[in-house]
């Protein structure tokens, strides 16, 4: 890999994706991860460092049809304080509220959290259960080309995504939740602030007369990427949330995850907590 030779701060999207054409580019957004990682030598900055801060198309939160569009440069604080998000996506606000510290929330961006692809990324679990999709822009020929993919297929490993080196994440789109939508998030850590999850859980669905349908379940920090949990979802789909169902589903969840031992928690503890917190969240949902 070549040495850092250029610094570039594009002011529009065309310039930004054109710069990505040769692929040897490190993208700088909020910088809360790239700065310490590069200073410590854990991440090597490529031939070009591109600061996308001044690309205005990447900012802001808007309602587009029946989707909420959150620009990739939107900070965690901006998401938490946004009226649209507060009204329609309270589970995302909850996760943002547990994100790092005020100083980091003020700088860190949602696009950065997505592209970092940490198995424990705080916003990723609510985004997964909200059926979010990511939009990518590139310039294969002379024209700007955009395409979207579901966030659930975006992650392929720790720090690895299906974004090619020539692509830029421009925004995340979240469908407006239907009526009777419920969503819960829980992050388990040692302390509330500045902690990386031992595990995190998101559960969402439509709750009508005690029955949960269109179920989405996602787990953080139990696999190489944030993951949806299809077996747990299947066990919940169309079920009445009584005690027996909740107990059964908590066991399915525990069996479904294959976490590892690491410095934050043992695999055994993670499985136990997936069980207990799945049960707790479902009990909360049952009481709504």
């Amino acid at each position: 890999m070549s040495e850092l030779k250029h610094y570039f701060a594009p002011t529009n999207l065309d310039q930004a994706v054109e710069c990505l054409k040769d692929g040897d580019v490190t993208i700088l957004a909020g910088g809360t991860d790239l700065t310490p990682q590069s200073q410590a030598g854990r991440v090597k900055i490529k031939q070009t460092l591109m600061n996308i801060r001044h690309v205005s198309e990447l900012a802001g939160i808007t309602l587009e049809g029946d989707e909420i569009r959150i620009g990739a440069l939107t900070t965690i604080t901006e998401i938490m304080n946004n009226a649209l998000v507060k009204q329609h996506l309270p589970v995302l606000v909850e996760a943002c509220d547990q994100f790092a510290s005020d100083q980091i929330r003020n700088a860190a961006t949602i696009g950065g959290n997505i592209c970092n692809a940490s198995p424990a990324g705080d916003t990723l679990i609510p985004l997964l259960v909200l059926d979010a999709s990511v939009e990518l822009a590139s310039m294969p020929e002379a024209e700007l080309y955009r395409h979207s993919m579901p966030l659930s297929t975006f992650f392929i490993g720790p720090g690895k995504t299906r974004r090619s080196l020539c692509e830029l994440v421009t925004c995340v789109r979240i469908p407006l939740p239907p009526e009777n939508h419920v969503a819960r998030f829980h992050k388990l850590g040692t302390r509330p602030a500045l902690d990386i999850s031992k595990i995190s859980i998101g559960i969402a669905g439509t709750l009508k007369e005690g029955i949960l349908s269109n179920v989405r379940v996602a787990f953080g920090a139990v696999a190489p990427t944030p993951v949806r949990a299809p077996r747990t979802e299947k066990a919940l789909e169309g079920q009445r949330l009584d005690e027996a169902t909740i107990a059964k589903v908590a066991n399915v969840a525990k069996d479904e995850v294959k976490p590892i031992d690491d410095v934050r928690a043992s695999a055994w503890y993670r499985k136990e907590m997936i069980h207990n917190i799945t049960r707790r969240l479902l009990s909360h949902v049952a009481q709504t």
């Binding site: 700065t35 590069s38 005020d102 602030a193 500045l194």
Partner: protein, 157 residues
């Protein structure tokens, strides 16, 4: 040789032009290039908040920011709050409540508290505690700091 880039930004109300290493963080620029040493280096990874500054009206960790990213922006450090009414009140309250012991966390703590008081987000003790989650103090046990901020923000303790 490391890559340099020229940036221009407003620092404590005054336009500055600086040539910085592209890989340098904002903290190193403030302390080592510009010579404003009020902003402290604690952990270098965003855990301790000793390097808190304000950029475009919000608080952030200068160790988690590229110096080149200051280009075109409005940066305030602890030195820039020397004649600020809110910060003056905070400084007096910190002294009065014994919220300064070794003093190393104090500039970052004041920067964060100033941002909190100005954005009116500290109505009670709990919100003050949440607000300073990103600032470590190893001396006071925090109570005196929380009391000092509450005295300025008018929060009930």
């Amino acid at each position: 040789m490391s890559l340099k880039h020229d940036i221009e930004f407003t620092l404590n109300g005054i336009k500055r032009q600086v040539s910085v290493d592209v890989t340098m963080n904002a903290l190193a620029m403030l302390r080592d290039v510009i010579g404003l040493t009020g902003t402290k280096y604690g952990c270098g990874e965003g855990e301790c908040g000793a390097c808190t500054i304000q950029v475009d009206g919000v608080s952030l960790n200068s160790c988690l920011m590229f110096a080149v990213d200051c280009d075109g922006r409005n940066v305030t450090t602890i030195e820039g709050l020397a004649n600020d009414t809110t910060a003056d009140a905070l400084r007096d309250a910190f002294v009065e409540h014994g919220a300064v012991q070794c003093g190393f966390c104090t500039p970052g703590m004041i920067m964060q508290a100033d941002h909190m008081v100005k954005s009116e987000c500290c109505n009670d003790t709990d919100s003050i505690k949440r607000g300073i989650e990103g600032n470590l103090c190893r001396c006071t046990g925090y109570k005196k700091i929380v009391d000092a901020i509450a005295a300025v923000s008018g929060a009930q303790t």
